[in-house]
Symmetry: D3
Subunit: 133 residues, 6 copies
């Protein structure tokens, strides 16, 4: 039920195994989830996405949990089942409680509601909201 | 260029004015932005959305800034111009710096990218990611 | 500010003019709105879309106003500015009142909200809801 | 295969049970569908969404069936599997026939098609379509 | 687990069978996939969609494989599971290799990423990009 | 009317200028379009996105024009105004004719239509379409 077979963690090529090893080391986990095993069918994508994700999700002006909450919220809003499950698990690992998730989903629902209200009423942007920074 | 005329802050009906007053008091601002002036064309929606938004965005297990960042991220991801501008301003008021916004947009972009990769590869959910709580 | 120039109502080719004439006759209007003037840059698309639209929007088990309300609701939900404006005007011509539009937008907002809640909670479909007809 | 366990109809807290009772009474049904049992994991969301839905879907300028058809159309357009199933069942209960559903899906498909055509051709809004009401 | 039962290839009405026969003849296949068997519940939709699809996907300024790749890319981007599977198979039949699919999914992911970056930064369109043709 | 000011091509920091120079050299153009000038407000994003885009859009199993057509199709389908304009221009530079664009938009429209039909009818994936490669 997948587009490509999932690449076996152990039987992967050297190029793929190097990325898998970095995923395990960076995340301090001992297994590789299906997303990366699927991407391994196209090694340049596997490498590029992992490098990009590692860079984007590293601690910065936003802490890792806040970043995961944003990632999860966008994934729910896009209706991506896999990403909702995997980033839900990632956020939980970083400290997201059931109550935090309940509030996050409520914000996602409310944002989707008011996004459509703004479009339905064709609300013009207030001048004071232009040029944010 | 709007579906309905924007209701004048001062010439509104008593029902609408009561909501406008609560918005100004709750947010400690002295004006009403276009979103609410548009919704005022349908007072039951104005009242219901404002009450819901006030409840959802109140401090809870997630703090108000984190909630605004999630709201902004979803609005960007949905391509809602008005909401991106208004919730960008709201997040800035609560302390979002240019660097935080740069990182937020990067996470939104990355999530949209991997959401589609997961769908393109039709990745099955790992058993370990089921039953989150 | 368009991808292609809008084709002049009067200077169009015979093939395009035939569709324009049918639009004016079917809708009992004396002008052609920009959507069709843009599509006229690719005559097979102009003809195919007009024929399909005429068939789909004709009275059937659903009356024309109900069909226009559904069309408008989907257009708002998709954030399509042009379609929100044009199908809003079409629905108004068929009898949509300001109050009906207010309720329609409220339903669109609510549906977008609960769609995301269902995805966020990953709610399994109840057995009783399977096999609708 | 859900984010949270579905709350048992009978073992719920008093707060949740009060909402469940109101759902059963309002809809004249003797069971609670999974959507509400999932939301019951976050009681403030359960209460707020139910109150909002009850208000928005009540008879008004639009009758309940028309509202359900709009709800269903948006849910299909958003690709929400659960909502398509549950609002399909709700619309059927209110009188939607197989032929009406066939026409509804055709309108949803057509709207999604022309929404993208309008975006692809970047069609400017006709002046006559501005300021709807 | 479908909205309507799938219509049996052999037990269909004459009207439906005529479309099924044309699908088999045009595609040089000896079976009818589920999409058409579902649409057969509403014969006018079955006929209209098949005619439109046949016209749109015929060789033209773009060759059939390029058209299928575009179709598949849009289906992935929209998260349509059925269409991703069926148009993936169609593209493969026309010559899409695993490497081509890997690159296609990478482009879809990148486009979704930069689409949201453009929206997040609210980038104004460069004058040189106006009036494409 | 942007979230951040557009960074001046000439007054940029050394880090940003290096990316701008590479964009000009790679594309053989003598100016920088607004997208990159906006991203330059967050240099790590500018660098990462440019590197990724350069890699993904390079000739491979798919030629550059086919990749641009896919990119443009996804951008139209997502309703991204900026990306529709910029990737439309890029595809034109690589040889896209008006007729090719007309066909591309027709395919995007048709795909969006049938994507929603498949979701509306909740069509189960045919067994023959599983395990594509």
């Amino acid at each position: 039920m997948a587009t490509f077979p999932l690449i076996d963690e152990n039987a992967a090529s050297a190029e793929v195994r190097a990325v898998f090893d970095d995923i395990r080391a960076t995340r301090k986990v001992d297994w590789i989830n299906n997303f990366w095993r699927a991407l391994a069918n196209h090694p340049p994508t596997l490498r590029r996405i992992w490098q990009g994700l590692k860079e984007v999700m590293a601690p910065g002006a936003l802490d890792p949990l806040t970043k995961e909450l944003i990632y999860l919220a966008v994934s729910i809003s896009n209706g991506c089942v896999y990403c909702t499950a995997s980033h839900g698990a990632a956020a939980k690992r970083l400290g997201m409680s059931p109550k935090m998730l309940g509030e996050l989903i409520a914000v996602v629902g409310m944002a989707n509601q008011t996004n459509r209200l703004a479009d339905g009423y064709r609300v013009p942007v207030d001048e004071r909201f232009e040029n944010l920074f």
